[in-house]
């Protein structure tokens, strides 16, 4: 599961309201190199939740994320390349996502998060 995906997922257990995003991330980050696409990264930048991204990096020990995005982030190629390395190339193969609010644990196996809820959670 990419760090990018973590940025979009939340807990949907019945009754789990405020605090269900972002989820806490656990696991060992793995790098899978891929081509850098500036156009994609500059469009994707504005969709990112920066605090959630910082939290995820903190949770799994990624230190390369800058504290604050630079001025004109969409045009800054170096910044976008660093961002690409983190959100596109960094994967969690085995680990988990945990809800801060209701403490529900969603396992990640073989890079696939299991967000399937039980009968009593819907």
């Amino acid at each position: 599961m990419r760090i990018l995906s973590h940025n979009m997922l939340m807990c949907n257990v019945k009754g789990c309201g405020a605090g269900n995003f972002p989820l806490r991330l656990a696991g060992t980050p793995v790098q899978n190199e891929s081509e850098f696409n500036q156009e994609f990264m500059s469009h994707m930048y504005s969709k990112l939740d920066w605090p959630a991204l910082k939290q995820a990096c903190g949770d799994v020990g990624i230190t390369t994320l800058p504290e604050e995005p630079p001025a004109n982030p969409e045009g800054n190629q170096e910044f976008l390349k660093t961002l690409h390395d983190i959100i596109i190339d960094t994967h969690i193969q085995q680990g988990s996502l945990t809800c801060n609010n209701c403490k529900r644990v969603y396992p990640i196996n073989n890079g696939i998060p299991n967000m399937l809820l039980n009968e009593n959670e819907v």
Binding site: R2, S5, E35, I112
Partner: protein
């Protein structure tokens, strides 16, 4: 929305116009004359254009079109019936379907059904009530449940046999059919085929190209005085008559001539593709699910959604992931999620995605990130009002799920779609046979039905819907 638009010719035409813009392409669609086909002409022809054409996503085969001629002795005289009653015309159409020389000819079935639809819709033109439309779909389903036995008996009553004179007239006309095509048309088509033969088949000897070994593949629509075997044989004879140095062979052929006899019009084309073009754009080794979609249809759905850069595209019932994967490579500036409730589907999806990602990394190309997730479509792990596009192939209730189950499932799923989609700009592209269930939801205040049409998928009438989220439920 009186008509039910049918068929995918429009998407092939759009793709051609888009991808051959530089070549100033002209595209013609005539669903009555050539259903399931699109004619296009270019100002010039060279190998690089052939390579461009081979990258198209929505077409299966390409031909160098020679032209069309009329064979007025080929048709079986129709049974005398000037009855204007609806029931009779429906029966006659069913009858024609049975007597069709090539029962697998989808395009003929298409045109017959459109005519039936036209008659029904004309009678109801005054009523713009959607309920009436749904009743029509209901009754069409019931009519199909005639048993094979009943249809055979019915067809025996109306069938007319050709007289020996009619047959010999028709067959004789076939024997000289090839010679009826204009010299210029024939030469132009040959020129196109020769480029293909040199480039793709590796035939270098230009002299050999002038006298190719050929095979005829004949399709027909309508009732003729001869059968399809005779049609193929006589057409092959007529080609040799026109080009004596050409030799027919069923197996070791270089040139495949495609003949399409639609009622009394014969269309001829020289094939310039060996395999399905749209299928060759995807990995042949990809893991397929139980009801895997044809790539061309998945592409059509994504095209309908008009995906913008930076958008979030979700397939909540992805199966083996055909739709998000096609998005990942063809609309690569968005981000994709492929989710399913089944373990096997999720595994297949992941394998396919990893294959694609590995290949991209090796070839140093880019494809959009696609995350595979295990989830239940009724309960998605996305915040409300956060997703831009939902594109999915919903269970028909035949191979997956059940018709009864769908009555509960569809409203629940669509409610969840509505929750996660952004208001106004958020849209759902849905492929399903359960048109009634979608119409039910679409008629509520929370959705705006933008467009829908039917396609023929393996003999089933399947619907494609484009719905916009109007507001939250």
């Amino acid at each position: 929305m009186n008509w039910v638009e049918k068929g995918l010719e429009w998407i092939a035409a759009e793709e051609l116009k888009m991808k051959l813009k530089e070549e100033k392409v002209q595209v013609y669609v005539d669903k009555n004359e050539l259903p399931g086909r699109v004619l296009f002409s270019l100002q010039q022809w060279n190998p690089s254009i052939l390579f461009l054409l081979k990258k198209l996503q929505t077409i299966e085969h390409l031909f160098a079109y020679v032209g069309k001629i009329t064979l007025n002795h080929s048709l079986l005289p129709s049974p005398s019936s000037s009855s204007s009653s609806l029931k009779d015309s429906i029966n006659k159409n069913d009858n024609n379907n049975d007597n069709n020389n090539d029962p697998r000819d989808d395009s003929e079935v298409q045109v017959k059904e459109t005519e039936v639809e036209k008659q029904i819709l004309n009678e109801q033109k005054e009523e713009k009530d959607q309920n009436e439309e749904r009743k029509r779909i209901n009754s069409k389903d019931k009519k199909r449940k005639r048993t094979k036995q009943e249809r055979k008996e019915h067809s025996k009553q109306i069938r007319i046999e050709a007289t020996p004179e009619q047959r010999s007239l028709g067959l004789d006309q076939l024997e000289s059919a090839a010679s009826l095509f204009k010299e210029d048309d024939w030469e132009n088509a040959m020129k196109i085929w020769k480029t293909f033969a040199q480039v793709t088949k590796g035939i270098k000897n230009l002299e050999l190209l002038g006298s190719p070994i050929f095979r005829i593949t004949a399709k027909s629509a309508g009732n003729h005085v001869f059968n399809s075997i005779e049609l193929g044989q006589r057409l092959a004879d007529s080609v040799v008559k026109r080009c004596p140095s050409w030799r027919p062979s069923a197996k070791q052929f270089e040139l495949e001539i495609s003949a399409y006899l639609r009622f009394d019009v014969l269309h001829l084309g020289f094939s310039v593709t060996d395999t399905s073009v749209s299928l060759s754009q995807v990995d042949p080794k990809r893991n397929l699910g139980v009801t895997a979609l044809k790539p061309a249809i998945a592409y059509t759905m994504l095209h309908m959604a008009k995906i913008e850069p930076g958008e979030i595209v979700v397939d909540p019932m992805a199966g083996c992931g055909t739709i998000p994967q096609l998005g990942s490579s063809n609309f690569p500036l968005a981000i994709y999620f492929a989710g399913d409730v089944s373990d096997i589907a999720v595994e297949k999806s992941q394998q396919n995605q990893m294959e694609m990602d590995t290949k991209s990394a090796q070839n140093k190309t880019w494809n959009a990130p696609c995350q595979v997730v295990k989830w239940n479509g009724k309960r998605l792990p996305f915040a409300s009002d956060s997703v831009d596009v939902i594109a999915t192939d919903m269970p028909f209730g035949k191979r997956i799920g059940s018709k009864e189950g769908n009555v509960e499932l569809y409203p629940a799923i669509l409610r969840e779609f509505n929750r996660v989609l952004k208001p106004t700009t958020g849209r759902a592209v849905i492929l399903t046979q359960e048109s009634r269930l979608i119409f039910n939801q679409a008629s509520t205040d929370s959705w705006k039905l933008n467009r829908y049409f039917t396609i023929n998928q393996g003999g089933l009438d399947v619907f494609l819907f484009l719905l916009f989220k109007h507001k939250n439920e």
